[in-house]
Symmetry: C2
Subunit: 335 residues, 2 copies
């Protein structure tokens, strides 16, 4: 039988209301009584029951986090940012893997709402009308992290992926390349797939370089699809001299694919990645890449959520964080 607030009250010779005040740091308690209560708590080894508190106060100091896959370096880094800020604000995190399956995502949101979380950070690839509907009817704030939502109604934290794709391609163009291939993510993924691709295309267009269908390889963010892309792309009659991969993992895959067929990176083919996961520095040559501030995306999303939960005023609910290109060795230095 665990110790309850009532036991403490009796032990300290006060009412449970007073104990509650002490536990919650309410200043309206005489120092002597506070001391008595604290002593009783100590003596009994009392530990407040957060569930009971949650029921009475309608706050759980717990937030839900939904993401496609925690074992993915990108999301794991986001999760770290989320957890650090949550912990800073005394929230705990209920972490859920969705496997990017719509029905699981919807189910998880529902479960989290049943558990009375105070808010939700949602990460996914594709936002469908079903999501929007749930977001709109949610009783607690939901913020998206690293996830695109086109109605512009849902709070979110991102970088500008169109610009990211544009910049990566521009970087290759500036290096003198005209035959630039791209390994995209699945186009069903608006951010990682389509948007970066659009940036690529625009950069080409601005440079008056005709777009070539055969220079597009549709990958799925994995190392293997990068390897595969190298094979396909290099067997083209006019092979590209530079490749932009929509994720670092794919970029490392191409690099190795290229090396396996005797090509030198960056001399024969330049490669640029996207994300800047730790892997980018653990490959030879080290990977030039578009830096996404992953940790910050998570951290800012969580911070934003705390504001909503506290009903603070939020000036900008769609936040776009800066990105940049980290020059390393998979591209030739610009002269």
């Amino acid at each position: 039988m665990p110790i309850t607030i009532y036991d403490v009250a009796r032990e300290a010779g006060v009412s449970m209301a007073t104990v509650s005040r002490v536990v919650n740091g309410n200043p309206n308690v005489k120092p002597t009584t506070r001391k008595k209560v604290l002593a009783a708590i100590e003596r009994l080894g009392y530990r407040p029951n957060a569930v009971a508190r949650g029921l009475a106060s309608k706050k759980t100091t717990t937030v839900g986090v939904i993401m496609p896959d925690i074992s993915n370096a990108f999301f794991a880094e986001l999760a770290r940012g989320i957890d650090d800020i949550a912990s800073m604000y005394k929230y705990n995190i209920i972490l859920c893997d969705s496997d990017q399956r719509l029905e699981k995502e919807l189910h998880l949101i529902n479960t989290l709402l049943e558990k009375q979380v105070d808010g939700i950070v949602f990460m996914g690839r594709e936002i469908k009308p079903e999501h929007i509907e749930v977001f709109n009817t949610s009783s607690v704030p939901i913020v998206l992290a690293g996830t695109l939502e086109t109605t512009g109604e849902q709070p979110s934290v991102n970088i500008n992926h169109f610009q990211g794709g544009y910049d990566a391609t521009k970087r290759l163009l500036d290096g003198g390349n005209t035959r630039i291939a791209m390994i995209t993510g699945p186009f069903s993924d608006p951010l990682g797939g389509l948007t970066r691709f659009k940036g690529y295309r625009k950069a080409l267009e601005d440079a008056k370089i005709p777009f070539r269908e055969e220079y597009i390889f549709n990958g799925n963010f994995t190392y293997d699809s990068g390897m595969e892309a190298a094979k396909v792309l290099m067997s083209l009659p006019e092979a590209p001299t530079a490749i932009f991969a929509a994720s670092d993992e794919m970029a490392v895959g191409v690099i190795h694919g290229l090396q396996d067929m005797g090509k030198n990176v960056p001399r024969d083919v330049e490669v640029i990645g996207y994300d800047n996961v730790r892997l980018a520095e653990m490959v030879r040559p080290k990977l030039t890449t578009v830096v996404q501030p992953m940790y910050d995306i998570g951290a800012v999303a969580m911070r934003l959520l705390t504001k909503f939960m506290n009903k603070e005023k939020v000036e900008e609910q769609i936040v776009v964080l800066p990105h940049r290109i980290e020059e390393r060795q998979s591209t030739k230095p610009l002269s």
Copy 2:
């Protein structure tokens, strides 16, 4: 004002007990009444309050998970295993990063207990008496995953790291090497540091190869410490011909360090890693390594926890999973 069970009861013209039965799948309800209730639930959009349920039933179907760092590939993979099994058994996970700081670990356990989790999976590097004390007085089961505890009283899931260290070293010995260096983890980490090192030492001893202090480089599991180790080790008067690193990340660091100084792996120096994180296949040459079934360690730990939570009989509460060596290209093939 959210819909409560009471609203549903009124809407359906039954008592709240009946609604509760329907919601909880209790068979003692006439099909017609069940239908009526279900209809009312649907009409009202009723969503059960898990907090209230938790208070009344003293079960939260939530378990706590404490780990040093979710952004670390090793722990992220464990987390995936934990979450998958938890989800299979309808539990949710409260995920907490401890940064391996003792006071934070202790604090987190306490917070989780306040939140009335039904059980805890704990991952850490070093288990101190303070941990043991908390474990022993916990009101809910706690199982350790990938974490060593020497009293043998605490349920845990692991592989045999002494044997892992032994096997890795033996593999290098079998390849004809006599000058074998080891990059260890911090010795304050019993499993990743000391135990693997002991296995290394024993393998040497069994092969009658004298142990050399200068062949031990004390790393901290990071890529950089692997790079550093390469420098130090290769500048030795009698440089090693093979290196066993206590983590894949360090192994990849040595490989690159070696390559940077013009050495060929495995021709000049053979390298073997530990863990088999995904990185091991994303390096050239691909890394030969001791395979830890990370996902399984998490999954089995969670499964074990469900048994304790259900008060099922558990025959073996210290489980040791098998490991093996995955032969890749950073070692010369055995003839």
